[in-house]
């Protein structure tokens, strides 16, 4: 096919390579990775992801060239039973290509970053062989995510949904035998299990939604479902309500909304690129994508939309308050992510799909930037910690060095005082601005974008959500505004604690800047975080993203720019930053000083610090009863009743009794055994006696012959 023709007819035939490219990448690394150097492994994985990005771009170009034509690219037959035909088909339209671009674009940058990050991470953790494994998982994630966003039906979407869940599980538990501080423990694998099981709850909802959909609407395919939905909504509206609400459970699971968000903070146990890619930029937005994709369904049932919006707004506010009380740099960002996801879910719940998708994209940029910068900070501290430690050893006790390294071999990262040094704790930082200037500036850009300061990307996308909220759901608007205030506050707090003031530890003092392979992708993301707002400026004639998504979602209303909303949010953000400066910037934290918020807020801050005791609440409300029931079932029902009583006593006992008494003693011992023994004895006796007949005397033998003759004759006579 000639290029010119292809340009005209579109690059749709390339769609399968969205999935195949990362699969090929992971296969190459899985099979040949052991012979490759780290650079080759990272390059292969990044190239695989980059190929997916190029394909996405070509597909987006084709969609654009055809003015939003929705094209289905059949790829493989899957299930054909009677009239049921479920195929693997790629759906290329403006919505899916948007997601593809975000996933593969951000994904590729994070792949490149991870080459540098994992190079050091595997060395700090003394497991250099796991470098290849990391990139295999990362490519697996890209492939699954591509299946998710490119699927033509809810079923394919679900396949990808589960695939990214698996990749997430594998990557959260990447350092499965240690905790985040590299001490031997099952903390990381427990975090992975928590994420997986919590997602299972959500997937259960998604599955029920799928079953209902198939039962009442007769299909999984998007277009067919949407075509059949209005009629059903007329006759049985509860069906659509049920489908959308069960789908919301799935969304809550995957996109970390109340009440299933609890897994996401723990998921920070994974390496930082994973947190950035999966647990901030892409996978967790799958729920937002799902709601947007199901827009025709949600539009039919405003009640469900309202619930979605309230869940999103509630999550946004709730998570933002928790983020204020966190000390771990990644935990703050994790709660921030939950909060921002709440913004998106609220937006798509309100029907502001463009605003939701817009925020999804800008959030992918700046949250990935923040996470990766945080990773850079953590590694910088780690470097500083190691450099200082080795320095100290060289100077003071050179003989102890060997012993120290042996301890390191066992996974210990003790500092000189025997306590574990946590490079992610913001209380261990301070003043890093001077030692890591590049990271500082990148972090600042991300912070400003997240806080919603003009003209950064977050400002535009967040304001669009607030604008829609104000027009439709005032209560949501107020919740989100307060959440935005908290967002600016906790980000300000973080900046002051991490980068300003004086170094509170030796590690922070000796922190070192990250290499270019890590900072260059960050710069790209920083640029995107600055100019990303241009995608959808809220002025007439500038709604590029809106018009782009109109191809898929149908006609949309674009509310005009409201200076009031923008002004209020900007004032709130600046106010929050000011307060944070007053608390944390003016008087920087000293060594072991408690958080300055602790005194004025009292028990409220304790609640924030402890995530409002939600985990403990779940533990009391769900896990403890669950464990007790399980224990009861296992111990009493299964073990004592089934095993001890039914199996051991009744079945085994009866069997033993029957076999030992009836069968063994009588039938076997006195019957079969006795007969067999008798047979043996008899044979012995007979042979003992018959043996005597064969005495070797020919005369005797002749006598036997005569006996035979006599007998035969006698028989003949008497016959």
């Amino acid at each position: 096919m000639h290029l010119s023709e292809t340009v005209q007819t579109g690059f749709y035939f390339l769609a399968p390579w969205l999935v195949l490219a990362p699969v090929v990448g992971l296969l190459i690394n899985a099979i040949f990775g052991r012979y490759f150097s780290e650079k080759v492994v990272g390059t292969v994985a990044s190239a695989a992801s980059g190929t997916a990005f190029i394909v996405s771009a070509l597909l987006a170009y084709s969609v654009s060239a055809s003015h939003g034509g929705v094209v289905s690219v059949p790829f493989a037959e899957w299930i054909h039973i009677g009239n049921l035909k479920l195929d693997w088909t790629f759906r290329v339209d403006s919505l899916s290509t948007t997601m593809m671009l975000v996933v593969s674009g951000v994904g590729t940058l994070i792949h490149i970053y991870a080459i540098g990050y994992m190079h050091e991470d595997v060395r700090f953790k003394h497991e250099e062989g796991r470098f290849t494994r990391f990139f295999i998982f990362l490519n697996l994630f890209i492939a699954a995510m591509m299946i998710l966003v490119s699927g033509d039906s809810y079923l394919m979407l679900f396949v990808g949904w589960e695939g990214v869940g698996l990749a997430s599980f594998l990557l959260i538990g990447f350092w499965f035998e240690m905790d985040t501080l590299a001490r031997p423990s099952w903390a990381n694998s427990n975090a992975a299990k928590k994420a997986f099981i919590t997602n299972r709850v959500g997937d259960f909802g998604f599955l029920i939604a799928g079953f209902l959909m198939f039962w009442y609407l007769g299909s999984f395919q998007f277009d067919e479902v949407f075509a059949a939905a209005p009629a059903i909504a007329e006759s049985a509206p509860w069906v659509i309500v049920a489908i959308t609400l069960f789908m919301l459970i799935g969304v809550a699971g995957k996109s970390a909304q109340i009440p299933l968000y609890i897994w996401l903070p723990d998921a920070m146990a994974g390496p930082t690129p994973v947190s950035a890619l999966i647990h901030a930029a892409t996978m967790v937005t799958a729920g937002v994508y799902l709601v947007t994709r199901s827009a025709p369904l949600y539009s039919l049932v405003p009640e469900a939309q309202y619930i979605v919006a309230m869940v999103g707004a509630g999550t946004a506010l709730f998570a933002a308050t928790i983020a204020v009380g966190q000390y771990d740099i990644k935990k703050v960002l994790a709660y921030s992510t939950i909060s921002q996801l709440g913004f998106m879910v609220a937006a798509v719940g309100m029907g502001a799909y463009v605003a939701g998708m817009f925020h999804l994209i800008t959030h992918a940029f700046f949250k990935a930037l923040l996470f990766l910068s945080a990773g850079s900070v953590i590694l910088g501290l780690e470097r500083g910690h190691h450099a200082h430690e080795h320095h100290a050893h060289h100077d003071e006790k050179p003989k102890g060095k060997k012993k120290k390294e042996e301890e390191h071999g066992h996974g210990g990262h003790d500092d000189d005082h025997g306590e574990v040094f946590d490079p992610g704790d913001m209380r261990n930082m301070g003043g890093i601005r001077k030692t890591m200037p590049v990271t500082f500036w990148l972090y600042m850009i991300g912070t400003l974008a997240l806080a919603g300061i003009f003209p950064f990307a977050g400002f535009w996308s967040k304001d669009e959500i607030l604008l829609d909220a104000k027009l439709h759901y005032p209560s949501v608007y107020w919740q989100l505004s307060i959440a935005a205030f908290f967002t600016a506050f906790y980000m300000g707090r973080q900046i002051w604690m991490v980068f300003f003031g004086e170094a509170r530890t030796d590690a922070a003092k000796h922190a070192e800047e990250s290499p270019k392979v890590m900072t260059v992708p960050l710069m790209v993301l920083a640029v995107l975080s600055v100019v990303g707002g241009a995608l959808n400026l809220p002025f007439k004639g500038f709604h590029q993203l809106g018009h782009w998504l109109e191809y898929t979602l149908g006609h949309l209303e674009f509310p005009p720019f409201d200076l009031g909303v923008a002004g209020i949010s900007t004032v709130l953000a600046l106010l929050a930053i000011l307060i944070s400066w007053l608390l944390y910037g003016r008087n920087p934290l000293k060594g072991n000083q408690p958080d300055p918020l602790k005194k004025p807020l009292g028990f409220v801050f304790t609640g924030m610090e402890n995530k409002w005791f939600v985990d403990e609440g779940y533990d009391v409300l769900i896990l403890t009863p669950f464990r007790k029931i399980s224990q009861f079932l296992a111990d009493v029902i299964d073990w004592r009743f089934w095993h001890d009583f039914v199996h051991d006593t009744v079945i085994a006992g009866t069997y033993t009794w029957v076999s030992s008494i009836a069968l063994d003693r009588y039938a076997d011992q006195r019957g079969i055994d006795a007969f067999a023994n008798w047979l043996g004895t008899a044979t012995q006796w007979v042979s003992d006696n018959v043996r005597k007949i064969q005495n070797g005397f020919v005369r005797s033998y002749a006598l036997s012959v005569l006996l035979g003759v006599v007998l035969i004759l006698g028989y003949l006579i008497l016959k």
């Binding site: 064969q694 070797g696 005397f697 020919v698 005369r699």
Partner: protein
Amino acid sequence: MVPVDYYIALSAILFVLGTLGVLTRRNPLIIFMSIELMLNAANLAFVAFSSVYQTFNGQIFVFFVIAVAAAEVAVGLALIVEIFKSRRNINIDELNSLKG
């Protein structure tokens, strides 16, 4: 005018006597002679029936039997001589190795 049954009875008696000799005597030569006696008893029955039925078949059978007996005796006596040569004894009770 002798009924054929008399001849057969005589044949039977001689046969039984031969049997007795085979079974009771310990001298292999006498056992051998007893066997010859049994053969003679059978021959007598043959010839008697041949006479009754006025055919030569019975007589020809006897002729063959005599020939076979001659051959048998030749080999049998050769065996006895051989046994004697190897064991210096021909007591049949000492030749009891014919068993498993």
